[in-house]
């Protein structure tokens, strides 16, 4: 059973607009949540993370929001750029398990010029 879910397999956004990628999780024991970005024929690369004690973390154009009560997080990209086109994996882990990352199935983002 999937502990991290991304219900949208794909998303298309116009360049300059906001991209919102959503993620839900089932395990309330998760301590950290992460987003990875993956280009074709490459491995995933870390993008941004958030601790379970926070509700928002911002890094440039990327912001992650966490709603613990709803077991939901989202990644906002503003403004979206064509180079952001990639597969985005939501992920989570427990502090006691360090780098044993639990990934979601991914959302393919296409930013249209």
């Amino acid at each position: 059973d999937q502990q991290v879910k991304q219900n949208s397999p794909s998303l298309s956004v116009q360049e300059g607009r906001i991209s919102i990628l959503n993620c839900d999780y089932t395990n309330s024991m998760f301590d950290y949540f992460l987003w990875y970005k993956k280009y074709p024929a490459e491995g995933p690369t870390f993008l941004i993370s958030i601790s379970s004690i926070k509700d928002k973390n911002e890094d440039g154009r990327f912001t992650v929001f966490l709603n613990k009560s709803a077991k939901h997080l989202s990644l906002h990209i503003v403004p979206s750029q064509p180079g952001d086109s990639a597969v985005y994996f939501c992920a989570a882990l427990r502090e006691t398990s360090y780098d044993k990352v639990i990934f979601g199935p991914g959302t393919s983002l296409s930013v249209i010029p």
């Binding site: 950290y32 491995g43 398990s97 360090y98 780098d99 990352v101 199935p105």
Partner: protein
């Protein structure tokens, strides 16, 4: 600094055959991980080495999979005998210290197709 390298990048084998995937982590990285993504689904953790020791192998699907890391340098993942459901992308990753997912570097993956 060279990244995580994996070999082969692509492999097509018949059901019942054996395949060995190799991973060379970033130099100096004691932690090495194997993950796999099957049929476009989520990337799943397989196991974690700290140097040559298996720290966590809870994600290994069954005893057809054998991972080794002799001398604490490169690692191999052998699938014997391969089954159709083993097809997917096998990612290796490494990190210098155990962290919270933000210090892991992934390789490009080894695509395995079992026919």
């Amino acid at each position: 600094e060279a990244g995580v390298t994996q070999f082969p990048s692509h492999s097509v084998i018949e059901k019942g055959q054996t395949v060995t995937l190799r991973c060379d982590p970033i130099s100096g990285h004691d932690n090495l991980y194997w993950y796999r993504r099957v049929m476009g689904k989520e990337i799943k953790f397989l196991l974690h080495f700290v140097k040559e020791s298996k720290q966590d192998e809870s994600g290994m699907p069954n005893n057809r999979f054998l991972a080794e890391r002799t001398g604490g340098t490169y690692s191999t993942l052998k699938v014997q005998p391969a089954e159709l459901e083993d097809s997917g992308v096998y990612f290796c990753a490494s990190s210098r210290q155990q962290g919270f997912g933000n210090t892991i570097y992934f390789g490009e993956g080894s695509w395995l197709t079992v026919v």
